[in-house]
């Protein structure tokens, strides 16, 4: 019956020799009960007759939006989780290819195709591009022009100088202001013509170009989370390069807890604050600490203020909590380019947006209701 030599074996022998049949049955039942309790409490049955155990998994991808993508979720087995993660990844790769401004993809008309045809001809594009561009125009209006995807001409100059400066820090240079001003003549978003009937996009100004860096990633994250919900996925967290959005919370019913990156990268403290988010909320930070280069010891980040045509340096970081990833991305960029007064007014007069500003010296300003999300 059981392995010879084990305590169980001796027990059976013992029972057989000294006890009545009724007692034997009772004792066996007690043993089974003990075994059952011990194993279920310790979760050895995992999947099967007892309640299915949900394990936590994280998938990391590095081939989307030139950043790292992390998906956290729960499933009984890694295979089941991988299926979900792969489905989300495929969605994201599709958005990545459509919204790319640097690379061509065979058989795909993307934002780069639109830029290449500026002043030449309208380009037939996927609905997802039309939707992003319409959303970006809404963000332009909502932020008083501080989020302008038609700034490609200016941003590409900064991109060139930054790449060169990172490759060869000794000879890092700032772009001449005349060049930036000349480029800024070609940033009128009204010259972005969307024809929804013909499904075409046309840039009327041959010298203009689109840079969707401030909206595309967040918009794709938002749409991908909506896709995940439509698939019936629950208890998930998607981080697209630090733009994080959640469905539900952790499997145990507690909310997802997110760390907000400390803008002081030399510090031993990883997170400057921690926040708990509700179902459907997202958090994103904009700052001068990830993509930047230095000229004469001064840091120049990748967020360019449309008014000055130079990187803003008022804040080390601005973080947003809201319920739409696309808006979160756009608004954090916009706030980074605003004064604290304008930013506070913007946030406090809009529903469902909260913000936290961090200055280079580490001092912090919160919007009216940000602190309710803080933990510790």
């Amino acid at each position: 019956m059981l392995l010879q030599g084990t305590p169980c074996f001796y027990l059976v022998v013992l029972i057989g020799e000294y006890m009545s049949k009724g007692k034997v049955l009772g004792v066996i039942l007690i043993i089974l009960l003990i075994v059952f309790i011990v194993f279920t409490r310790k979760g050895l049955f995992g999947k099967g007759d007892v309640a299915e155990e949900q394990n936590r998994y994280t998938a990391t991808f590095i081939d989307i939006f030139d950043t790292r993508t992390e998906i956290v979720g729960y499933a009984p087995t890694e295979d089941e989780f991988s299926k979900k993660a792969t489905a989300l990844r495929e969605e994201l790769i599709n958005y990545n290819n459509l919204y790319d401004i640097y690379n061509d993809y065979e058989g795909v008309n993307n934002i780069k195709t639109i830029n290449d045809n500026a002043g030449v001809q309208p380009v037939v594009v996927d609905e997802k591009i039309i939707d992003l561009l319409k959303f970006s125009k809404e963000m332009y209006a909502a932020t008083d022009g501080r989020v302008n995807i038609a700034m490609g001409s200016v941003l590409s100059i900064w991109h060139r100088y930054r790449e060169a400066g990172v490759d060869d820090p000794e000879n890092a240079k700032l772009p001449p202001i005349e060049d930036l001003k000349a480029a800024a003549e070609h940033t009128d978003i009204e010259n972005l013509i969307i024809d929804e009937t013909a499904k075409t996009v046309y840039l009327q100004d041959p010298e203009m170009s689109l840079d969707v860096g401030s909206t595309a990633k967040g918009y794709a994250a938002q749409k991908t989370m909506e896709f995940a919900r439509a698939q019936g996925y629950s208890n998930m967290l998607l981080s697209l390069g630090g733009n994080i959005a959640g469905i539900d919370g952790r499997i145990d019913g507690t909310p997802f807890r997110l760390g907000i990156q400390n803008p002081d990268m030399d510090s031993d403290v990883d997170y400057i604050k921690k926040v708990d988010i509700k179902d459907g909320q997202c958090v994103v930070s904009s700052g001068d600490y990830q993509r930047y280069y230095e000229v004469d010891g001064k840091r120049y980040c990748h967020i360019i203020n449309p008014d000055t045509l130079f990187p803003s340096d008022t804040f080390a970081q601005v973080s947003i909590i809201t319920d739409d990833s696309g808006m979160a991305d756009a608004f954090s960029t916009a706030l980074y380019n605003m004064t604290i007064e304008d930013g506070l007014e913007f946030v406090n007069t809009n529903d469902n947006i909260e913000a936290m500003w961090v200055y280079a010296d580490g001092s912090i300003v919160y919007s009216d209701n940000f602190e309710q999300y803080l933990v510790d």
Binding site: L11, L14, I31, T60, R68, G242, L258, G259, M265, Y271
Partner: protein, 125 residues
């Protein structure tokens, strides 16, 4: 109470305590006792190193680029790399499960497996 009842109770106790200890040892060996640093290059596992042994590992790529992984005091970090942006070097050291250091240009991901549980589920960047 008969002598046999006492023996029975004793045996039952030994069996259940034995099971508890056994299961606990099993659990321990499969979790925190064996925290590891997993390095992948372009999605393929390059190497796995115990988090509790100090070492330096040069991650060599076919095209000559590299990242140097340092494990010390139970934490992993990238201390040197051939990539232009150095974001991996600037990333804080890691030791919680699923924490990562990513080098996008080299497609290198350093990830903690079976480590201590983190109290945050993600972070903004």
């Amino acid at each position: 109470m008969k002598r046999n009842d006492i023996i029975l109770i004793a045996v039952l106790l030994v069996v259940s305590i034995g099971l508890l200890i056994g299961v606990n040892i099993y659990r321990k060996n499969n979790t925190s006792g064996s925290a590891k640093v997993e390095v992948t290059v372009d999605g393929k596992v390059y190497g796995t190193y115990p988090l509790d042994e100090d070492r330096q590992e040069r991650i060599e790529l076919a095209d000559g680029s590299y990242n140097i992984l340092k494990i010390s005091d139970g934490k992993a970090s990238v201390i040197e790399a051939s990539c232009p942006d150095k974001i991996c070097v600037n990333t804080a050291d890691i030791h919680y499960t699923d924490e990562t250091i990513v080098c996008l240009p080299n497609k290198v991901v350093v990830k903690i497996v079976n480590g201590e549980e983190n109290d945050v589920d993600g972070m903004t960047r």
